[in-house]
Symmetry: C2
Subunit: 456 residues, 2 copies
């Protein structure tokens, strides 16, 4: 987002060692843009930029760096600086950083934490991976129902500077159990001597810290809220999750879906940071499974060896016809997987969608069958035109049906529908396509084949 | 998100015509959940549910319905009801509804609008499609720099009930030009007699109404803000865009990427609402392009007719080898397209990633080559093992390179990298794969082929 010019200017100032101008340029920049610029220079220059920042902006800038950059920078800084940054980080940012470390790195970083921060971090890291607890910040403002609005506002004023967000004020009972979430705006609109309970409408949303973070994404998206209360299983308020964290999680979950549908395992980290060996491991599994699936395709072809040997022109159309089935199947699988992920389509819709898909697939198949029949006639005459066009209709319909139904079947068996990847659908459509194509050919060309057999 | 039990209860109460209980159940439900439940009943029951709601919750519920449901419901309601709903809708929700209509429907709905609403709606609809202006709400709270905090808070109290969000208060000059955005929290923390200008830090983010909505998504995600100011080209404040609208846009844009990578055109609407003919039109284009691309694959096979006729066992391995290239290519294309979309990877990274991808692809190819050599040996002996394994290494590497480089090339030419769909990559990898495979076969098997030619 940062303008290119600013980043180039920054790099130039670093090279020319113009420290005063560097500081002035940084002053004008948002911390997010400084973090983005730091991404593009070597670690020595990163340290220079970082130290040119006033102390109060350093931690904020740090929190916008990528995980591997945060590690490198902290290693390059001295212990005092590292200690201060770790102390100043907001608890959720600190958890995110710490959970990206290897066990040995984690141990050495935890040593730098002040006792209170250490206790808090260990508590947050104690929540399961991918749980809401890992995303939450324990800073929030809570008031009691029997307080006056004036007293509540005093309390809010006192607490607000510590808190990450105060768009919502939470009302809790004497045991810390969450009773309501009230907009800050309502406190300002209310009369100063009114009781907090008069502002309460008991319409609030909360999630449990141990729940999957995907659940927090759904609640925030469904109810269009900015701040979500997090409680323990007894309803005691523990912290909040904000919409910006949720957007990051939603983006990661979507990336996982993308990777799966492309037939690669979910990477769970930046592609730039991923090592070659990790990329190899994430990809080889599916590729080998698909190799063995494709063997069945080879088997199917072997089965039709006589047909192929007799009418070799059939081989010319093999990639065209089987690929078309796979392509149509990839289309419908992608449409379904995404619609299931966004909630646009649900399990119960499958039959209705099946009917629609069948009609669409047939229409697609007929169109493509007509196209291929022209080429078939040109290459092999009337009979080949018939074989190829008929095969095209059947194969495209078959591929679309597989592509449409597989995501639903996976969902039904509580598996991720995104496992219905384009490569998987292509492989299934290939095997089916080969069998359909050569079966149709064997039937329609039976006279030719009989003649060839008699000649041989 | 609504619990299944509640929805079943609602349906039962509708069937049994228990109006009193229906009203009580609805009272307990969030408007988002009522909208979700309405999605699952027929239009007559939808109207019943809608009329059982207190008037002040009707419009809110309406705003959470899907676009086609909103149209159906408005048609089923009487003119007075429709008029009231259209009047009460927030301006951004009204724009979203109106832009989903056909020109004739739009005309009849605009007739129901009060003159002032009509003027506002026409203005918002005047912004280009997919622009920020279409998403924005013109309700916001603006104060002047020379006001005291007390006066500003009075003004906020007065305006807040009309406004959609007041987490931010905007400071404008006498001509309405945006000077700053200040957190509501800061007004509460400040002394009552302080001037508004003492709260200003001039760190604020704004976008122009005519800009692409994708830009608003980037700004909100990059700077982690909840509310974004929208101005005209002179900096005059026009309205705000909030993070919940942005999350919806981000989801739609991601869905477009998904559809494209699956080889279907971007749908821009709910899969459930999409008609069969729309689905057909969105999908047939790419499928036909791919048919013609695959013809080259057929041509390539025709070119190697002699080789195939002499050593028919080569055909058995054809789907296995060419598909493996397409599969590896789909994997790398998906990884790249997504990384480019999230900003994880940028244009300038291509060379570094190319080196890494080459190494990974080679390792994948060697592993798969080893696997296929065993099958090759079993099926056709030593020479076939050599041909298939060597072809596998080359084809997988070729496919991965295509999959990796194509998204970058598309970006370079200012095209959407998601156009590098799995079907497209598969087709390119197929043509390359056929040529590579049969060329290797022709070279290695030259003695066998010469013998066959002599015999023929």
């Amino acid at each position: 987002m940062a303008e290119k010019g600013v980043i180039i200017e920054l790099i130039a100032l670093l090279k020319l060692e113009k420290d005063q101008e560097l500081r002035e340029t940084l002053e004008e920049m948002a911390v997010q843009d400084i973090a983005e610029a730091m991404d593009q220079v070597e670690i020595d220059d990163q340290v220079k930029v970082f130290r040119a920042l006033p102390e109060e902006r350093q931690t904020d800038t740090f929190s916008y760096l990528g995980k591997s950059q945060q590690r490198d920078l902290l290693d390059a800084l001295n212990n005092n600086e590292a200690r201060r940054i770790l102390h100043e980080l907001l608890p959720d940012d600190r958890t995110a950083f710490l959970e990206s470390l290897s066990p040995e790195e984690l141990e050495s970083q935890l040593k730098l934490l002040a006792p209170e921060d250490l206790k808090q971090s260990l508590k947050l890291l104690g929540y399961p991976e991918e749980s809401i607890g890992r995303l939450m910040t324990p800073h929030f403002v809570a008031v009691r129902p029997n307080w006056t609005v004036a007293r509540a506002l005093d309390h809010i004023r006192h607490e607000a500077n510590r808190g990450e967000t105060v768009n919502f004020v939470f009302v809790t009972d004497e045991r810390g159990r969450l009773l309501d979430a009230v907009k800050l705006k309502d406190f300002i609109l209310a009369r100063q001597d009114a009781k907090v309970e008069s502002l309460m409408d008991e319409e609030f949303y909360s999630v449990q810290a141990s729940a999957d973070r995907e659940h927090a994404v759904q609640v925030i998206q469904h109810y269009d809220i900015n701040t979500l209360a997090v409680t323990d299983k007894n309803g005691v308020m523990l912290g909040i999750v904000t919409v910006d964290d949720i957007m990051d999680v939603a983006e990661q979950e979507t990336t996982e879906d993308f990777h799966k549908i492309g037939g690669a395992g979910a990477l769970n980290m930046s592609l730039r940071d991923a090592s070659s060996s990790l990329l190899y491991r994430k990809r080889i599994g599916w590729l080998l499974i698909l190799v063995f699936m494709n063997l069945f395709g080879g088997e199917a072809i072997a089965h039709f060896e006589d047909t192929i040997a007799a009418v070799i022109v059939l081989v010319f159309f093999l990639p065209l016809i089987v690929d078309s089935g796979g392509n149509a199947g990839s289309q419908s699988a992608t449409l379904m997987v995404r619609a299931l992920a966004t909630g646009d389509v649900q399990m119960r819709d499958w039959l209705k969608l099946w009917g629609k898909e069948f009609g669409v697939a047939l229409a697609l198949g007929v169109t493509m069958g007509l196209a291929v029949s022209l080429i078939g006639y040109y290459r092999g005459g009337y009979e080949i035109a018939l074989v190829t066009s008929l095969a095209m209709v059947c194969v495209v319909t078959f591929g679309s049906m597989v592509g449409m139904l597989l995501p639903f079947m996976l969902t039904r068996f509580k598996l991720d529908p995104a496992t219905a990847s384009a490569p998987l659908i292509t492989s299934i459509a290939d095997i089916g396509g080969i069998i359909i194509y050569f079966t149709i050919a064997t039937v329609i060309l039976s006279d030719t084949l009989a003649a060839a057999a008699a000649a041989g």
